[in-house]
């Protein structure tokens, strides 16, 4: 049945049929409001009587997909009102990444995203391997290199820093411009204030709204649990620790003149190892949860995008840890090439994959903190 024939459908202009369906759902939900205690989406919805596309993209990114509203809803399918908020908002959310992507010409990368990222990753790895081979004798790939500066005998540090710095800066630029477009679309043009940002940091860092209103999120059956939040924490904080490791190593290199590889007890290695372990088990858990999740609540068509990001994080960590363990063996050169290839691919695809969900959701949380404060006087 078309969205326009269902209860709650409003004549109106939306960019896509999905946004029209999201409008219909919010109209249904706004006349019910039973779910207002579950998360931030429904209180934010209650502040509105109409739902233009920007607001729908905001609500979609505010949703953490805990599934509680689906399980609690008396109108979810097979009811004729067909209210499936987690699924439709997941679809709108995924579309929003492409809508606000910079540059717009690359927004197509979100379609068949799993394939795009696989190809980019494979190419990156191949280029690093070929690069090493081209620069050196092919036998360098199978030699044993140890001691200070061992990595840089395969690829000079400055070349490495320039290449990854450029990739990273591009990612930051593209993400920042995408985020700016999203922020402009979802809210009033006022800059975010410090208190709202701080509230959003707290909400994001605890995944406050992935708890089904207090009992955990719903995944494969009707018994909620907190495992997805636990896996996400492992992934997110693992990622942050790895990032911190890289930052410390950069400071070591430029400020202290100390070159990698570092001994196992040194800060970059400790941070990287801990983060790496988080980035092994977190993505594994998330992937298992994703595979088991009741498909009716999920944006199953975008499985590739979600899976690609999870796999890239997992591979980054796996290759990094293998490199750490095997760095004194003949496997080091090929592992280094693979690791650098994966990290490079991760960086350049950050603006065009699931990574952006964190930033869009954070922006939505800032927006919510702002309007919640304006309405109630408190965060």
């Amino acid at each position: 049945m078309l969205a326009t024939e269902k209860a709650g459908a409003r004549p109106g202009t939306h960019a896509t049929a999905l946004l029209a369906e999201a409008d219909r759902l919010m109209t249904v939900c706004n006349s019910c409001r039973y779910c207002e205690g579950l998360c931030a989406v429904f209180p934010a919805m209650e502040m509105r009587r109409a739902f233009p596309d920007g607001d729908l993209n905001y609500l979609a990114n505010l949703c953490h997909s805990c599934g509680a509203c689906y399980v609690d809803c008396q109108f979810s399918p097979p009811h004729e009102f067909d209210v499936n908020v987690p699924r439709v908002l997941a679809q709108v959310r995924a579309d929003s990444y492409a809508t606000y992507a910079w540059p717009g010409a690359l927004s197509g990368l979100f379609a068949r995203n799993g394939l795009v990222i696989s190809v980019v990753a494979a190419l990156s790895v191949a280029v690093f391997i070929l690069g090493f081979v081209a620069r050196h004798d092919p036998s360098v790939l199978f030699g044993t290199h140890t001691g200070v500066g061992a990595f840089y005998r395969l690829m000079p540090h400055n070349a490495m820093a320039a290449l990854f710095g450029a990739a990273f800066l591009y990612a930051i630029l593209a993400i920042a411009l995408s985020l700016r477009a999203f922020w402009r679309a979802i809210g009033d043009p006022v800059a975010a204030d410090g208190a709202s940002i701080w509230q959003a940091i707290r909400d994001a860092s605890t995944l406050r709204y992935l708890d089904g209103g207090g009992i955990g999120c719903y995944n494969h059956d009707d018994r909620p649990n907190d495992r997805r939040r636990f896996y996400h924490h492992q992934t997110f904080y693992g990622f942050l620790l790895c990032f911190a490791s890289t930052c410390v190593a950069t400071l070591y290199h430029y400020l202290l003149g100390r070159e990698a590889p570092y001994p196992w007890w040194d800060l970059p290695v400790v941070l990287g190892t801990l983060g790496g372990i988080g980035l092994i088990f977190g993505p594994l858990g998330l992937m298992i949860a994703k595979l088991r999740r009741d498909p009716i609540m999920a944006d199953t068509e975008r499985f590739g995008m979600d899976a690609a990001f999870i796999v890239m994080l997992f591979l980054t960590s796996l290759t990094g840890l293998l490199l750490l363990v095997l760095r004194a063996t003949g496997a080091m050169p090929i592992l280094l090439a693979i690791h650098l290839g994966v990290v490079f691919a991760l960086f350049i695809t950050l603006p065009y994959g699931k990574f952006v969900h964190g930033l869009y959701r954070f922006a939505a949380l800032v927006r919510y903190a702002r309007e919640h404060k304006a309405l109630t006087g408190k965060h």
């Binding site: 209860a7 709650g8 409003r10 109209t27 249904v28 706004n30 006349s31 019910c32 409001r33 039973y34 779910c35 207002e36 205690g37 579950l38 209180p43 209650e46 009587r49 509680a68 509203c69 399980v71 609690d72 809803c73 008396q74 109108f75 097979p78 009811h79 004729e80 009102f81 209103g213 207090g214 009992i215 009707d222 018994r223």
Partner: protein, 465 residues
Amino acid sequence: MADLTKKYDVLVAGGGNAALCAAVAAARAGSSVLVVEVASKFYRGGNTRHTRNVRCAHDAATETLSGPYPEDEFFKDLLQVTQGATDEVLARHMIHESKSLLDWLPEQGVRFQPSLGGTLSLGRTNSFFLGGGRSMLNALYLTAESLGVAIEYEAEVVDLEVDNGMFLSATVRHGGQNHTVRAATLVAACGGFESNIEWLKQSWGPAAENFLIRGTPNNRGTVLRLLLDRGVEEIGDPTQCHAVAIDARAPKYDGGIITRHDSVIFGIVVNRHAQRFYDEGEDIWPKRYAIWGRLVAQQPDQIAYIIFDSSVVTMFMPTLYPPIGAPGLRELAVKLTLDPAAFEKTVHDFNAAVRPGTFDDTILDDCRTEGIAPPKTHWARRIEAAPFYAYPVRPGITFTYLATRVNKQARMLMKDGKPSANMFAAGEIMAGNVLGRGYAAGMGMTIGSVFGRIAGTEAARNARN
């Protein structure tokens, strides 16, 4: 798959709040329990799916309620809405027992929501379920399952074997077959007969054809009818029910809460002949929310139209179905297929009768009419700011009050005045004992939870002896 061949201590007919409270209470008391629910797993729980809150007395504020709401005040509210049509002993017992529900329900996994203000204006008297009634049901089912309660979905009680007030067995239709299910006791908690239009027509006449049923299509009163036919005493008036005015565009069944309209006080309500028929400003919502279903049911063709103008369109909750709008009164009348001349006259007469006042929809304000019948005694303002809007409304039946008579143990009483040996009732099927007329928000759930818990506990005790 539950075992339908073994003999249980307690057979619970029904799968809503009352049934599950009974099942959980009986299982906690050590009984083996079988729940037979006519609906599929998704539609389980009848009207509980559509509920949101329960009214419980309490002596002091709690985390989720402001307070206090003393037993006497609760009873006074009940007397007011029922105009005295209640069994005082039972009602007072229920109100007393409702106090401990505030702890007992959370112990069964039910979560209450802190009062958020805004929509939840009932924060003192009523406790709201976090996530609504289906969330509450889900919690009760998880608890029942973990206590070992056997649950069979798509299983309907189609016959009862009762001998001189003693339940012997039930015929349960499941999977295309009839099963004879034996149990030491029966708890009937399977709703009223509101979904049975033919039965409604017996007392309402053809008007019942135009009723919309807000909840489950399964409450056909099969077990109620069987029990009354097997000698259980009847109590209550078959025309009495919880009925509100809901959008005429709602589905015949199961439209739930979202088809309601709370905009009556902001305009006027006219019938098929474009005439007003009741004081739209009599009392504050939600106190008078539950009278409009009956009022509309008494109008020709059981339809009415809430009429308002653009000045108030954002003053009430957004609605599922959009208002029907038109640039002028005449055009609106044409869209509603009302007589345009009569409609214009009604609005003009009303406008002329409006006296000046200070509008405030949160109190009984001083905006009223003079020299018009019926009057609008509060919130009366001229309907003059185009465009004009209307919501068509019909009676939305929530549940019926015709009941099996019970005592304080939720034990059914037989026509000869004797208590049944082993049959108990809870929820809508016995609501008429305390709710002879009218309605106050959250009462249905109080009746279900309180008498469900009592019925389960008593049935378990009965089964042990």
